[in-house]
Symmetry: C2
Subunit: 310 residues, 2 copies
């Protein structure tokens, strides 16, 4: 890689944000574009909430809660305590500092700005120097089909704690969503495309559901590197492994690779999964085996460096 | 007074809420209706904020901050600190617990409910047993005409700290506002009407600007008791005295009485102003001289009892 090379990384929430952090501290930020899942977005208490955009933004601004990976560090919960006093809806936790983000975003959208514009505005206010773009300005809402019926994502994920058995996914609104010129340009100009270790079904699939995005990636001659979020038969975080089992997918880097077969050319897998290097290679992928667990900032930067060096 | 007598009290913010608290703990709450100024209401960060309704509601729910008289006790300020980090508008302080009120109210209004409905809903959630009614469901906005031009109330009061010299007041939207059936019924059925010691110009005048309200009060045969918010030539709280001087009004109970001449039949003035009892009497008012400063809950209840006994 040269320092002038342009990099696009697709990311969901916590896992994606970790690698995004590593990239942000490894390459010149003006050459980095993060395209982030908005399938988890929802309206709550009249606020437009974009959990993955916020996680990436807080992580890059060094504001994220180091314990959870999401939310703001040293958060307080006064609003939630008052909401509970009102017997209001308390199933989704909104921190007090976090509220400022939701208020400013919702206000910007109500004033007629696009989600991309509002996101850029918030990032500028936090002095983030790379581009963070929502996958689309139009709403795409991940609907989780379960043995309990179809659930809006946050109801499945937060209210029901990802307990229902998943039978399928639907990305409501995807058919009428559009890519922004900025997303198109970033992918067309990219010298490297990275799929961060985010949930393939809940974070990457909704991004790929935006019309024309899949073919745009396929048309790119840049290497397309995926980092497996499944390590040692488990998801690093969240319900990915449980959901893969329920959808009869192989809970391994091979299962992930097959799920994202059309858009990834190189797989980065953990040393714990070295056994999958040969099968992946035989199925046509290049493979980098390394330590992919990102506990500390140094891990994130090291992994980013290894990916760029490869 | 009999315990079946129905009482209406008009109130603004802190001063009004103190007497409202006294009344609430003196008469059967189902016979008490508080009609509250909404001229201070405004939209901020996409939220509908009703400062006087909140002050009265928090006071009756025993949630008010005892130091300030407004806002919620043991409040935290995480949202404001994050808003400041965003370089967002920080001139108006919104506490974290307070935010839950603004979110629920704004959501209710967006869902098509009236301000009165939303207010009743919030009060029920806080187990408040008397009626708290906004003076109107339609927006009336107090505009302060100053040597600095016309300012929306909160910009005059909070952002400019009531510093500009006031030359007049305008209650924007009053001409198209309407009384609710509940406000009309409360006044028609009242056996006693009380004007709490709120700012005559900023809290009482906007209420009286609702079409038909003034004549409705005048038509009532109930005693109409006003409690002077001016004591010893000063406002108990806030800019009332400064504003009266600027508007060439006499900064005394007599000045207040003349300003509200058409709607009040009895004046309650402080012992410090006993000298005004005779002039007020000669001008045609009945007068009760007593201790009107309400520092403690006991003061509020005692004053309420004295008014009711008179």
């Amino acid at each position: 890689m040269h320092s002038s090379d342009k990099i696009v990384a697709f990311a969901g929430g916590v896992g994606g944000a970790k690698l995004a952090y590593g990239l942000y501290h490894t390459v010149p930020p003006e050459n980095l574009t993060l395209i982030v899942n908005t399938g988890d977005d929802f309206e709550h208490l009249g606020l437009h909430i974009s959990p993955d955009l916020d996680t990436v933004m807080y992580t890059l601004a060094d504001l994220a809660n180091p314990q959870t990976g999401w939310g703001v560090r040293a958060e307080s919960w006064g609003m939630m305590s008052a909401l509970t006093r009102y017997s209001g809806p308390s199933w989704f936790n909104l921190g007090d500092q976090d509220m400022a983000t939701h208020l400013l975003r919702t206000l910007g959208l109500r004033q007629g700005h696009s989600l991309q514009w509002v996101t850029q505005d918030l990032c500028q206010r936090l002095a983030i120097r790379c581009a963070i773009l929502p996958m689309s300005n139009q709403p795409i809402r991940t609907m989780v089909q379960t043995d309990d019926g179809e659930l809006a994502f946050q109801h499945y994920f937060v209210e029901q704690r990802a307990q229902p058995i998943v039978t399928g996914l639907r990305f409501a609104g995807a058919e009428s969503a559009e890519l922004t010129p900025e997303v198109v340009a970033a992918i067309e100009q990219a010298n490297l495309i990275i799929f961060c270790p985010s949930n393939p079904m809940l974070s990457i699939a909704p991004i790929l559901a935006v019309p024309k995005l899949r073919s745009l990636i396929q048309a790119s001659r840049a290497p397309k590197i995926g980092v497996s979020p499944i390590v040692g038969g488990q998801a690093i975080k969240g319900p990915a492994a449980k959901m893969m089992r329920e959808l009869n997918l192989d809970v391994s880097p091979v299962g992930v690779a097959r799920y994202l077969a059309e858009v990834v050319t190189v797989w980065v897998i953990d040393e714990a999964d070295a056994v999958y290097a040969l099968p992946l290679h035989e199925l046509g992928w290049e493979v980098l085996v390394t330590a992919t667990m990102m506990h500390q900032a140094a891990d994130k930067i090291r992994l980013a460096n290894e990916i760029l060096a490869f």
